[in-house]
């Protein structure tokens, strides 16, 4: 039960527990599917208002965009499957532009008040202090004259791991800023803008995923990491498609 989102647990938790207790262990697989299903559909979580649902969908959109950016960045930093020339590189740059456009469309806008700005800033500092400190430490270390090639392999591995952990943590923490600040500090985008943003993100992840997957399984041979990243991006497209379907059935805030 603890794995369900808070909003769902508060509304239905006691009843799910009673039902699951009555059925016993046989209900566990269905519960696991239910938990995953709920996390993938924030638009249907119990809410006080349509605006609250829209804020959750906006947060979901930002999460998907950052996950897609992280995967795309990971692919770009690996040797192959995308040679740094030609059509594929152009396609991936196009996907990055689409991701940025998608983020601009789905991002909740700060309320134009000093109080809202302070709240937003304090949440941003709280959430991003860790990854920023870690990333800065890596940059300082690399620019302090340490020769990565001459360094012991363990140091090189540790620096690389710290860099990717900083990027990953940052990608996780940015959406959490918007879940933390609440309605007093930010206004969610309207249904139309939200839908356009999620469509844009779906287009970016689908194009990037298909390009990476195609480049990984054709040509010089199978590139497992590239193929995995391509599949990951296509799964993000499926998440966007599910969100668009949820948005269709929901009442509007306006």
């Amino acid at each position: 039960m603890r794995l369900y989102p808070d909003a769902f647990r508060e509304r239905w938790g006691a009843m799910v527990e009673d039902e699951a207790r009555g059925t016993g262990w046989k209900s566990w697989p269905n519960l696991v599917v239910g938990v995953v299903d709920m996390w993938l559909h924030p638009a249907v979580w119990p809410a006080d208002s349509p605006a609250q649902r829209q804020r959750r969908v906006a947060t979901m959109g930002i999460t998907v965009a950052l996950a897609a950016w992280f995967l795309g960045h990971l692919a770009a930093e690996q040797a192959g499957p995308l040679p740094a020339e030609g059509v594929r590189e152009t396609v991936m740059h196009g996907c990055t532009v689409l991701l940025l456009l998608g983020i601009a469309l789905v991002a909740p806008l700060p309320r134009p008040t000093p109080g809202a700005a302070i709240t937003l800033l304090s949440w941003a500092v709280r959430r991003l202090a860790g990854p920023t400190a870690l990333g800065t430490a890596v940059v300082v270390l690399v620019h302090s004259g340490v020769d990565a090639d001459a360094s012991p392999p363990t140091l090189r591995t540790a620096v690389l791991a710290a860099w990717w952990i900083a990027l990953g943590l940052g990608s996780i923490q940015i959406p959490r800023i918007f879940t933390g600040v609440g309605a007093d500090a930010v206004v969610p985008p309207g249904t139309g803008r939200l839908r356009a943003g999620v469509w844009t993100l779906a287009g970016a992840s689908a194009t990037g995923g298909a390009t990476l997957l195609g480049g990984s399984v054709t040509g010089t041979g199978l590139h497992p990491l590239g193929a995995g990243i391509g599949v990951g991006l296509l799964l993000l497209t499926a998440v966007c498609a599910a969100t668009l379907r949820d948005l269709r059935g929901l009442p509007s805030a306006h």
């Binding site: 009843m15 009673d18 039902e19 269905n30 519960l31 709920m38 059935g249």
Partner: protein
């Protein structure tokens, strides 16, 4: 929606009046012969509530009953009529009297 869709089954169970989650599942068991898993049942309830097809009532203890909204009743009637039309046409094609 389809006849075996969890949301349709929940709406059908609520057509007689407000019920809490466990009672909804008991009504579904009487209708179909098996209970929905808790993940499916409460996932369907959450979706129906988000579409404003059902609404919660004040309850006692851990169980909180829900009921159909006027919109939910309208949607259920439309779905059941559509299903009945398909069932009628299919049975006629098979040469079976729908009645």
């Amino acid at each position: 929606m389809q006849a075996n869709d969890a949301q349709t089954l929940v709406l059908c169970a609520l057509a007689d009046g407000p019920l809490h989650g466990y009672a909804v599942n008991t009504a579904i068991e009487e209708l179909t012969g098996e209970r929905l898993g808790p993940g499916s049942l409460y996932g369907a309830l959450a979706r129906l509530e988000s579409k404003q097809l059902i609404e919660p009532l004040d309850g006692q203890g851990r169980q909180r009953p829900v009921r159909l909204t006027p919109l939910g009743r309208e949607v259920l009637e439309r779905e059941l009529r559509a299903m009945a039309r398909v069932a009628d046409a299919g049975l006629r094609s098979l040469g079976v009297n729908p009645a």
